[in-house]
């Protein structure tokens, strides 16, 4: 399957050339930068590939393509992308900056879990954005999950999260997904609020996963986002959304490498079924073609 976000078209020109020359390297660099890998990682990748090409004394672009795919796959596969959801209830906190698709991701994730016949309750702890609760409730309904709403406007998000976990414990619901309001990582007050939500939940049950949702269209700011959220919310996994656009999301590789937090889920469409687990092999295959 040629995913729309493949680098394929950017690379086709260079791999169809007869042999590897300087122009190939320039093209490769441009392609990687255009895919948001960022200047540092691009330099690293290009250097690494130059070394490999020299080592194997090849000048066949097809070899280079294979090496690129392998290099990316190898880097992506260094961390384990499996979700740790063995606690009962397994509490998943979903965090991220504004507009990356947290609420949508929760809807899809709830559906994903329902497909495995797990009972799911979602907590609408985004009490800030207008109508976020309704948006989540709509998704929950589509996914067949229960929803815990705040009892009044502007209720403390931590208390909504608490009530959600409480309900799950009381009714024996297996999975708890908690939506939080989007916040820019520079707002320290809001980041502290997130730490509070975490603390409050942990009074009832350990948190199984804290998923940071990253938008594939994001550029190098993704790294700053990840670092801030790891510090304040103890992120355990990344979710890459909006891969159905033309963005390549190359920055996640840098994020994964610099932070040591694995990518766990990817969202590739607007449908409720368009969220899948992350497989480095498939991702690299689709990216490089």
């Amino acid at each position: 399957m040629a995913a729309s976000w493949s680098l394929g078209s950017a690379l086709r020109g260079m791999f169809s050339r007869a042999k590897i020359d300087e122009e190939t390297w320039t093209d490769l660099e441009d392609a990687l930068i255009s895919a948001d890998f960022g200047p540092d990682l691009t330099d690293q990748l290009v250097d690494e590939l130059r070394e490999k090409v020299a080592k194997y004394r090849t000048d066949d672009p097809a070899d280079l393509q294979r090496m690129l795919r392998e290099t990316i796959e190898e880097r992506l596969a260094r961390l384990d992308p499996t979700l740790a959801l063995s606690n009962r209830p397994a509490v998943v906190l979903v965090v991220g900056v504004n507009g990356v698709g947290k609420t949508t991701t929760i809807g899809k994730f709830a559906k994903f879990l329902r497909n495995y016949d797990r009972s799911v309750v979602v907590g609408a702890a985004d009490t800030f954005r207008a109508a976020a609760v309704e948006q989540l409730a709509t998704w929950a309904e589509r996914a067949g999950a229960e929803v815990v709403r705040p009892q009044q406007d502007g209720q403390d998000p931590a208390s909504v999260a608490f009530q959600t976990v409480e309900k799950a414990q009381r009714e024996g619901i297996e999975m708890v997904l908690i939506d939080t309001a989007g916040r820019l990582q520079t707002k320290s007050g809001l980041m502290d609020e997130l730490a509070k939500v975490r603390r409050v939940i942990e009074k009832l049950a350990p948190i199984a996963e804290v998923l940071l949702v990253l938008d594939a269209t994001t550029g190098q700011n993704g790294l700053a986002q990840a670092e801030a959220f790891i510090e304040h919310a103890g992120v355990t996994g990344l979710v890459l959304t909006k891969l159905d656009g033309s963005a390549k999301g190359g920055f996640v590789l840098a994020v994964q490498e610099k932070t040591g937090i694995p990518i766990k889920l990817i969202g590739q469409g607007e449908g409720i079924g368009d969220l899948t687990g992350f497989t480095p092999h498939v991702f690299a295959q689709q990216l490089v073609g």
Partner: protein, 522 residues
């Protein structure tokens, strides 16, 4: 506001290497250009724009004009600045209103760019400018986007036309068309059409946007783009230009630390001006975009003009004069202190204001720690005092202080600190009022940037607007701002800063004070 923070950090670091050199060699230029290229790529400026940019800079930097210059580093700053302004779209443009109302403004953009929130901000801004906007809910795609717009409209105090419930139900084209008719009937003079977020490559939704455009024939189509977007900005912007052919760009989420580079490339690649910037979550965190000023901000020259404009809006001249009088007659009270503080609050985010100051880079961390709720706490303390106490702070003995602390939900230590700050502020302001204007002839000392200091002085003094009338007006405003400002804001800044920052000491206080005075007391 650390908008473009990291880019200006990078460029400033680059230029530091150039300082102290008498002449630029081609090797210097190449080194600098490489740094600039890297800084821009790190800032998510689109690759093709970067190439174009560095090419121009290299060419001009190697030209005769530089070699003859006295200070080549200055020249490079100038060249980079010029080129940045060019990239940013050159001139600012205002919204064009239709000759025959209603003026129709359509919003388009990717999912999550912030269209709905922006619709509310734009509506509120228009209402403030004396227009009567109507919001039209044509995003029938995203679950509860309609509800969100209704809530936002309510917050902005602007009516919302939402005949369809959304969530996939209803025809957005029809809603948009009916919305405009509704506005004609009820005599609203502007209509803001919120549309569903869509991907650049989603042909079907793009066609829907094009259909809406055709149906309502908007006077402005604003492309809303997230400042955090990466290289994909180019693809997206091109797709939207082909799809709906927008007339202007709005940059959102500029209050994050995203460097916003790619959004800048949008202006250069599509040739459409960036018209507004959205700088926070509140409905008031919205301002017209000034390309020339933003270029200055990237170069860490600060954004003095925006700052002064904001200050003027919030600053009540009568109040300022009264305060000055009170100072002169020694009758400055806690009440006045409170009033000033509230004025300062009206100016919007203090962080935002300070972030715009030149040389504020070093303070950024302190700014991030600065808690604006401190103002609210201070307000609570002062409001818990009796009238007599406010006018005569000397009355405040131990038991009164305890009562005030209880009344305001703070501690006696907080009350003590406030009183202390007030006394310091009053003393300091007396000096100011008596003519002891702080010694900041230009922009004052900027750490490790002596020559930039000189440049700044020029940059700050004149409006860079290309429109002569506007330039004149802005220069006049500058002069006015300079004339009236020192007494009022200085003291408030002092009082605020002292309490700001979790566990912060007096450190930031001095700096904030100096910074505020630097811009207002000049």
């Amino acid at each position: 506001m650390a908008a473009f923070g990291t880019l200006s950090d990078r460029l400033t670091a680059t230029f530091r290497n150039l300082r102290g050199k008498g002449k630029l060699t081609p090797a210097d230029v190449d080194g600098t250009v490489r740094e600039i290229r890297r800084a821009l790529l790190d800032a998510d400026v689109a690759l093709e724009v970067v190439k174009d940019f560095t090419g121009q800079v290299r060419e001009r930097a190697l030209g005769d004009e530089v070699n003859k210059a006295l200070n080549p580093a200055q020249q490079v700053v100038q060249i980079v600045n010029d080129e940045l302004i060019r990239i940013l779209g050159g001139q600012q443009r205002r919204l064009e209103f239709a000759k025959k109302p209603p003026t129709v403004i359509m919003l388009a953009g990717l999912q999550g760019a912030g269209k709905t929130t922006l619709a509310g901000k734009l509506a509120k801004w228009l209402a403030k400018e004396g227009h009567t906007p109507l919001l039209v809910a044509s995003d029938l795609q995203r679950p509860n986007a309609v509800t969100q717009l209704q809530v936002v409209g309510e917050q902005a105090g602007v009516p919302v036309y939402a005949p369809e419930p959304g969530n996939g139900v209803g025809d957005p084209v029809k809603v948009a068309r009916d919305g405009v008719k509704e506005a004609e009937r009820k005599q609203y003079d502007t209509v803001i059409v919120d549309t569903a977020g869509r991907l650049g490559i989603d042909a079907e939704l793009m066609k829907q946007a094009a259909d809406i455009r055709k149906a309502v024939d908007p006077d402005e189509v604003l492309f809303v783009i997230d400042a955090m977007i990466g290289q994909d900005a180019v693809t997206t912007a091109r797709a939207f230009q082909d799809g709906v052919d927008f007339t202007g760009v709005v940059l959102t989420k500029l209050d994050g630390d995203a460097r916003g580079g790619a959004a800048l490339s949008v202006a250069s690649i599509t040739g459409r001006p960036i018209m507004f910037a959205s700088v926070g979550e509140g409905l008031d965190d919205f301002e017209p975009f000034h390309p020339d000023r933003m270029a200055g901000r990237i170069l860490d020259l600060g954004d003095i003009l925006t700052l002064i404009e904001q200050a003027q809006q919030a600053f009540d001249e009568d109040e300022a004069r009264k305060t000055a009088e009170k100072l002169a007659t020694d009758s400055f009270t806690l009440d006045d202190f409170l009033k000033q503080m509230q004025q300062l609050k009206n100016m919007g985010s203090i962080k935002g204001m300070l972030g715009m100051l030149p040389g504020a880079r070093g303070m950024r961390e302190q700014l991030d720690n600065f808690d604006e709720r401190e103002i609210t706490r201070t307000e609570a303390i002062i409001q818990s005092m009796t009238f007599a106490e406010r006018t005569t702070p000397k009355l405040l003995n131990g038991s009164r202080r305890l009562r005030i602390a209880k009344g305001s939900g703070t501690t006696v230590t907080d009350v003590n600190q406030l009183v202390q700050r007030f006394e310091q502020a009053a003393k300091m302001m007396k000096t100011v009022a008596k003519g002891g204007v702080p010694q900041v002839p230009g922009m004052g000392p900027i750490p490790g940037a002596s020559y930039v200091g000189k440049k700044k002085q020029q940059a700050a003094k004149k409006s860079r607007s290309g429109n002569p009338a506007k330039r004149a007006a802005e220069n006049a405003a500058l002069a006015a701002g300079a004339a009236k400002a020192p007494a009022g804001v200085g003291g408030s800044g002092f009082g605020l800063g002292g309490g700001g920052g979790a566990g912060g000491d007096g450190g930031p206080t001095e700096e904030e004070l100096a910074a505020l005075q630097r811009m207002l007391g000049r």
